[in-house]
């Protein structure tokens, strides 16, 4: 470790230990910082220090615009070329009572000059817009970190509301931190007085003042934020200019005030990335683009049937913007109609999708069963959130795995694909579409709230890197009866894939009827024959079992690991960060991550048996572990967390260490 006052955040990833971030005034050891004193003219003669990574958390009331502030800082950071990872965290209420703990909304951003995997365990800098934001977040902030507080809000009533009997700014309780008291509201109002806005209107720009200040502190480019503000408020030019002015005032405040003596540089992470063109992207956006790309690569129109639900609605919003791609979005009367319309469109030959979260999946179950029976391609996108029931709409969880796997009547197998990072949602969507179209089956795409709203840099793929997903509709009879008549049999399967032919309405001579009643093999006619049902159930299962998925790859650089950590979905970042940390400390651990939960990769059983211990961390009560034990008779060690928040790398590293040492 580099600093005397070390924080868990700094230890999260060994790569980050080499240079380390040392909060000003707390373990300031220049030899370990590549800082230049009074070097940079653009920072007004102030000291500039170079850091390898920083974690910032913006926190305020849900009406304070913290998500917007975080998004803008992220965009600035992305365009600067740092690697980054974000964690928005907000309440389900649109405007929870002001100044209360449940109403606090925050946005955490981790950015670095090298590749990073998580939004970071603990912030180096907390921006607290009010006492509630301070109180709700202080437990996560390591001692020695910087805290910027809006002192204007630290008056009697707001403090009393969250149980501060005395002001934490004065009673010494923050002595271990490097506190910057800034009257953000007053300064913003002062900066905007020439705009003739009401006090209330002017106050609203205080988040931009804060953004300006942080942009100065971390040498972020500012042009795009100004452009963004002018575009966002294009219809209200006065408000646009007021926000720009507040943003600049914040920047200038950092530049001139003595309280901020140091600013920081985090160099672009160019060497961490393969060559290419990059952008910042959130999981839901990447998933939306993946669906559009799949439609293009399949040469089929995209049809989304959906009902708004957190945290999946953004996909509906995004796809509805791209009608010029031939995308049809249908906001249905309910979850059932959403998937029903999608299934109808699939029957008509579209690449059909429904998007939802856990409660919506429950409502769609019967239609998913119908899709299994009809054997039509259909994507079911489940952006998992905390459950059961309404649960925690804005928080993350992985507890829909067994629902996706088994949550239907009868034997109704459905392939399951899970993305592992926000950007990976793009490829996962293409992969899910491949399976659906090739095997004529509904497919689950299991993302979650953490991936959906988190963001990271993404190398934009070239068109020729995208898979060819074109399908062949059946246009001619596929069977000859004993008397020589040519007929179409809707359930005569491809011997390789076991997929049935897809003949869409409008194809002459292939008129046929399909339905949810058991069908006779081949003809598709209604059949109650016991032997036929047994055959059809086994055949549908065999089709899904036979879906081609790549072998799982194991990462074990030393080749000496006796412990394997196996994850799926969004835990990839924290697990990988934990693995780096464990390896950095000299231990051996192997890592593998599942993209395909159904069917499992062919080699999975063999891989599991290779290790003495298999640790399976999940944000549920051990659903993957249950599947693995049942399937492979391997007593995996399940580590679970259902807090609505992603794993912290530090904690996972401890879990791995214990497993290795056992």
């Amino acid at each position: 470790m580099t600093s005397q006052v070390s924080s868990p955040a700094e230890q999260a990833e060994p790569a980050e230990q080499q240079a380390g971030f040392s909060p000003p005034g707390a373990g300031d050891e220049p030899s370990r910082l590549t800082g230049q004193r009074a070097g940079a003219p653009e920072s007004g003669g102030k000291e500039v220090r170079r850091l390898d990574r920083v974690i910032i958390r913006f926190a305020g009331d849900s009406g304070d615009g913290m998500q917007l502030t975080g998004d803008r800082f992220t965009s600035e950071t992305a365009s600067f070329g740092n690697d980054l990872s974000t964690l928005p965290n907000f309440p389900a209420e649109i405007r929870a009572p002001a100044g209360t703990l449940p109403g606090v909304s925050s946005f955490q951003l981790h950015f670095a000059d090298h590749d990073i995997l998580t939004p970071g365990d603990a912030p180096n800098v907390l921006v607290a817009m009010n006492p509630a934001a301070l109180k709700a977040n202080i437990a996560d902030v390591p001692r020695g970190a910087e805290i910027i507080v809006n002192t204007d809000e630290f008056t009697k009533r707001p403090m009393a509301k969250v149980g501060y009997a005395t002001s934490p700014l004065e009673d010494g309780s923050l002595d271990a931190y490097n506190v910057h008291p800034v009257p953000l509201t007053t300064l913003t109002i002062e900066a905007l007085k020439e705009f003739g806005l009401s006090r209330k209107e002017a106050e609203r720009s205080k988040n931009m003042f804060a953004l300006g200040l942080l942009s100065w502190m971390y040498h972020r480019p500012t042009e795009n934020t100004e452009k963004f503000l002018r575009k966002k408020f294009a219809k209200k030019p006065q408000i646009a200019e007021a926000n720009v002015a507040a943003f600049r005032a914040g920047w200038n405040f950092g530049e001139t005030t003595e309280d901020f003596a140091v600013s920081y540089e985090v160099a672009p992470a160019a060497s961490a990335f393969p060559a290419g063109t990059y952008r910042n992207i959130s999981g839901n956006l990447a998933l939306s683009y993946g669906l559009i790309a799949a439609s293009r690569q399949a040469d089929l129109p995209l049809y989304l049937g959906s009902y708004p639900i957190t945290p999946a609605s953004d996909i509906l919003h995004e796809l509805s913007k791209h009608k010029n791609f031939g995308v049809r979005t249908f906001q249905a009367e309910d979850e059932i109609a959403g998937i029903g319309a999608a299934l109808g469109a699939a029957f008509g030959g579209a690449l059909a999708v429904t998007t939802t979260s856990g409660p919506g999946v429950a409502l769609k179950s019967e239609t998913i069963g119908l899709a299994v029976s009809l054997e039509l391609p259909l994507l079911i996108v489940d952006i998992q959130r905390g459950g059961p029931s309404t649960g925690l709409p804005t928080k993350t969880e992985q507890a829909d795995l067994l629902q996706a796997m088994y949550g239907r009547n009868g034997e109704a197998p459905v392939p399951i694909v899970a993305p592992k990072t926000p950007a990976d949602c793009f490829e996962a969507a293409l992969d899910a579409a491949r399976i659906a179209l090739t095997y004529r089956t509904p497919v689950f795409l299991l993302s979650d709230g953490y991936l959906a709203n988190g963001s990271e840099p993404w190398r934009i793929p070239e068109q020729d890197e995208l898979p060819d997903l074109r399908v062949q509709f059946t246009t001619t009879p596929n069977h000859e009866l004993a008397d020589g008549t040519e007929v179409f049999w809707p359930y005569k399967r491809d011997p390789e894939t076991l997929a049935r032919p897809w003949a869409v309405p409008g194809t002459p001579g292939l008129e046929h009827r399909i339905g949810g009643i058991e069908k006779q093999d081949g003809t598709g006619n209604i059949s109650y024959d016991p032997a036929n049902h047994d055959f059809m159930v086994r055949t549908r299962q065999a089709k899904v079992d036979g879906v081609a998925v790549p072998d799982i790859e194991v990462d074990d650089p030393s080749g000496e690991a006796r412990t394997l950590v196996l994850g799926w979905g969004s835990t990839y970042g924290p697990i990988t960060a934990a693995v780096r940390r464990v390896r950095g400390a000299g231990s051996h651990v192997a890592q593998a991550h599942l993209r395909h939960l159904n069917p499992f990769p062919r080699n999975l059983g063999e891989v599991l048996k290779r290790y003495d211990t298999v640790v399976v961390p999940e944000m549920n009560l051990g659903q993957l572990a249950t599947l693995l034990r049942a399937r492979y008779l391997v007593d995996v060690r399940s580590h679970t967390q259902v807090s609505g928040m992603p794993f912290k790398a530090e904690q996972l590293a401890t879990v791995l260490k214990e497993a290795i040492d056992d």
């Binding site: 063109t277 952008r279 791209h322 010029n324 399909i514």
Partner: protein, 349 residues
């Protein structure tokens, strides 16, 4: 060709009723009203003149929902109540198809009530045939949402408690642009209603009174028995005075005080006051009043025919227009441009 079928390819050769019969054995109970409806629909289809392969029948669950299996068109026998939702996806993504929904009183009004009202308000280009027999047949005889109060069934041995839906009132309340009622046994009338429904751009709801001879036999006998029907059935025709009974001796008039409709003996004095049926009236008020003119117990004064048929923007057309507008305004989607977005940076290897 009419607006409703403008985009649907025409049949190349003349089609016959036989072309619309599938090879599947029809398995309704002997004597079921569904046979008559099936025959009427199969008989009418050739007249539509559209390519058979561009016709799709979608159904839910229930006796009536076996219908698609017997039509030699494309078809889907789906799940309980969901046919309007599935058909909406098909109709809005494939405007070159003629999409028909076959449903029953339980399927459409109980488990699928939500989808029905939303399909109607959107005005998707669907033709919904609602077979109303006022009973659950497939589950063997429980009361349905159109059963009369006090219905003694297996699940209501002391009589049913719920007030029934009036399907046409419900449809009109749900902003339906086309609402009609007909009877299974009156093939000529049924066919004429189908003709008008098929011509209608948007959602057409056709309630077909259908006899379940096993669990609710003779539910509509008052409308079928030649003697009684004279007094019981009011045949609506657009632009014609609403008269019925022997020699048109009765007529429907509006009470000037309340606006309600009532039945009167037509005399020389009141003849001018007999209501002239206007199915195209912008206001749904009269159609609504007509939908509930019948005596719920005796079914006397039951209007049949097209109660309401008005032009309203069609959902699938609007949806397609938006796609075209988007292309006009922004050009055909450019995937590379979309993926790149606004802010990018380049890493040189």
């Amino acid at each position: 060709m009419t607006e409703a079928l403008k985009l649907v390819p025409k049949a190349e050769a003349k089609q016959s009723m036989k072309d619309f019969k599938s090879d599947q054995e029809v398995r309704w109970c002997p004597g079921c009203g569904d046979y008559a409806i099936l025959a009427a629909v199969q008989g009418f289809m050739p007249e539509l003149g559209v390519a058979r392969e561009n016709i799709v029948f979608v159904s839910g669950i229930g006796c009536s929902s076996r219908f698609p299996y017997y039509m030699n068109t494309y078809g889907m026998h789906s799940i309980h109540g969901r046919a309007p939702a599935i058909a909406t996806g098909l109709a809005t993504s494939r405007r070159d198809l003629s999409v028909w929904v076959v449903t029953g009183d339980g399927d459409a009004l109980s488990i699928g009530g939500n989808h029905l009202i939303h399909a109607l308000r959107r005005n998707v280009n669907l033709k919904i045939l609602l077979f109303n027999n006022r009973i659950y047949g497939l589950t063997k005889g429980q009361y349905s949402p159109t059963s009369e109060v006090g219905k003694i069934t297996k699940s209501t041995p002391m009589g049913s408690l719920d007030a029934p839906f009036n399907p046409l009132s419900l449809a009109i309340g749900a902003e339906a642009s086309f609402v009609a009622r007909t009877i299974d046994s009156d093939r000529k009338h049924l066919t004429e209603v189908l003709r008008q429904a098929a011509d209608h751009p948007g959602t057409a709801l056709v309630e077909i009174y259908q006899n379940c001879n096993i669990f609710n036999d003779n539910a509509f006998e008052a409308l079928k028995d030649k003697e009684q029907a004279q007094e019981a059935v009011i045949r609506l025709e657009h632009g014609q005075p609403i008269r019925f009974g022997v020699d048109g001796s009765k007529g429907v008039v509006r009470d000037p005080a309340t606006g309600d409709l009532s039945v009167v003996e037509v005399t020389a004095e009141n003849e001018a006051q007999v209501l002239v049926h206007d199915a195209h009236s912008a206001s749904p008020t009269t159609a609504f009043a007509l939908s509930r003119l019948a005596d719920p117990d005796t079914l006397h004064h039951t209007p049949i025919g097209v109660l309401r048929s008005v032009e309203r923007p069609v959902y699938d057309t609007l949806m397609a227009d938006q796609l075209e507008t988007a292309v006009e305004q922004r050009g055909k989607g450019d995937l590379a441009g979309l993926l790149a977005g606004g802010d990018t940076w380049t890493v040189v290897g």
